[in-house]
Amino acid sequence: MFRKVLVANRGEIAVRVIRALRETGIASVAVYSDVDRASLAVQLADEAAHLGPAAASESYLRIDKIIAAAHSHRADAIHPGYGFLSENAEFAEACAAAGIVFIGPPAAAIRQMGSKTAARQLAIAAGAPVVPGTVSAVTNLDDAKRTAEQLGYPVLLKASAGGGGKGMRRVDRAEDLEAAIRDASSEALRAFHNGDVYIEKLVVEPRHIEIQVLGDQHGNLIHLGERECSIQRRHQKVIEECPSPVMSTYPELRERMGEAALRIARAANYSNAGTMEFLVDRERNFYFLEMNTRLQVEHPVTELVTGLDLVQWQLKIAAGEKLTIRQEDVQWSGSAIECRIYAEDPDHQYLPSPGRITELTEPAGPGVRLDSGVYEGWNVPLDYDPLLAKLAAWGPSREAAMARLQRALSEYVIGGIRTNRAFFREILDDEVFRAGTLSTAFLDEFPGRRQSAKPDLEAEAIAALIGALAQKKPTAARRGNAAEWLKSGRESLFR
């Protein structure tokens, strides 16, 4: 096993990996940009290396600096987390060239699955169903128009090198196609340095369901079941769960999708952890979309229902150990749901809300798992993703998991910045969500069902009371000096 591993990431996923390293008895090296010097990951790691300025292009995306840090700290392996360099085949190759183990799949598999068109071709060859569409990038408008006619509108333009919804456009009419291709391609070029886009049939109101696979370097490959990820905004997942409600009703679907995922993974000579994303239509037909050749943000829900630690398995597999779990050993127990807590304002077009967390009360207790990258006093930088933490709950049933998640959300206080915490409370109360009849259209339709909060006399009175008391002693906070604060604590200051 490794002696020391560098974690080439930041935020909650760096913390998650550092925790797994500590539990496995492996020393950890965090990396940080200027604005992340005091991050939770740096605090929790055994060692830390400075990378450069805040901009990811000068820090977390700099292969040379990361390899140099691994060398100077004598790390024998690198865990890339998700995002940043995690799906960068050149990085995996640079690690190998530097004599450092890349904790992830082989570079060839990253490269093959990193091109959505190549991944589609491979899936077709492996006999897995894919969304009807082109397998190669659009090269001229006439071909594109013909393809779109054949598929039938609406169609979806997607970036070949893409992810996270960038370079994606829905097109409903032939006359919009040209502009959409231009927009999508230029967005893709900016985001991925690759402007290739391709055309797919748009599956209307699909579920987005993914299958987790895990394989060792000795040819053993298993799947750990699905995650339902249909609740998305701008193609970014916000709630994920396992089991998918559809599989609770139709359990054979898990088996069929799991088999399809394994066929694709085998064809790609895949090892380590990876995820196959599928769309599932109303008739429970499923279509392979793409593969994520890394740990997923939402891996905790799989861990909660299977009892397996995916990051610890990633480490073992990368170190050459054999997978000791057979497919028939995998058990799914109960139900788990995860919310992604973002620094954003769901009431104002999800605008980002970076800044200092002045107050933090985190939920805990039975059935609650929090994977957070922040702490009270932390200044959430504006330079990166707005994900602060992932709050997940497990229960013996979906109802129990929802109840626990609601309870945990009710305890969660994040002061100083806006978050989508309260928005989740509404979603978890929503009848459609509770019924489990989910689709990727959920968040587009949800606002129409939102109860415009009825004026609540009691809450208003208390808000007015707090306002009046805060005004009554407008300088209380200013006058109190910190020495007194230290002595008598917060209460005296703000009472």
């Binding site: 990166y384 707005p386 007015a464 005296s492």
Partner: protein, 162 residues
């Protein structure tokens, strides 16, 4: 002590006396509270009112969160009524303000330039999200108060359109 207030945009009154509060909406509904209050953090209180327990938080925006429900609060001490603001008209000069903290990545206009209503003016980025500020009206750019690369806070004035 009596206060006038605007709560979620609607006028109301609050009267405090000892551990009692009376809240009265302009529309007539009222509520008497027997309350106690204890600080539990920075800008954060436990309020017990008529035996019920509430977590209240004073947000930096001046709003108050009560059990997670965000309520806009303006309070006017009757002895200093001048504090009371009226909703300002929005004709004539228009300022373009940053909707979120972030970094200016593109300035699409320059001072003196004529712009259409809805024309893109300035792009601010934060947390990998780009936000294009558009002109609220047809007019002329009076002033550009920022530049590409600048870091801005929410509410900073970036440009003025006349």
């Amino acid at each position: 002590m009596k206060y006038e207030a605007i709560i979620d945009g609607k006028p109301a009154r609050l009267e405090l006396s000892g551990a009692r509060a009376s809240y009265l909406r302009e529309t007539g509904e009222s509520l008497d509270l027997e309350y106690s209050i204890a600080a539990t953090g920075v800008g954060q209180w436990s309020v017990l009112a008529n035996g019920r327990s509430f977590a209240a938080q004073l947000l930096s925006s001046g709003e108050v969160s009560v059990n997670g429900r965000v309520i806009r609060v303006e309070i006017f001490d009757p002895r200093s009524m001048r504090g009371r603001r009226n909703a300002t008209g929005s004709e004539g000069r228009q300022t373009i303000v940053a909707p979120m903290p972030g970094r200016v990545i593109r300035v699409l206009i320059e001072a003196g330039q004529e712009v259409e209503e809805g024309q893109g003016l300035i792009v601010v980025e934060a947390m990998k999200m780009q936000n294009e500020m558009k002109s609220p009206k047809a007019g002329r750019v009076v002033e550009v108060k920022t530049a590409a690369g600048a870091t801005v806070a929410a509410g900073d004035i970036l440009a003025v359109i006349e």
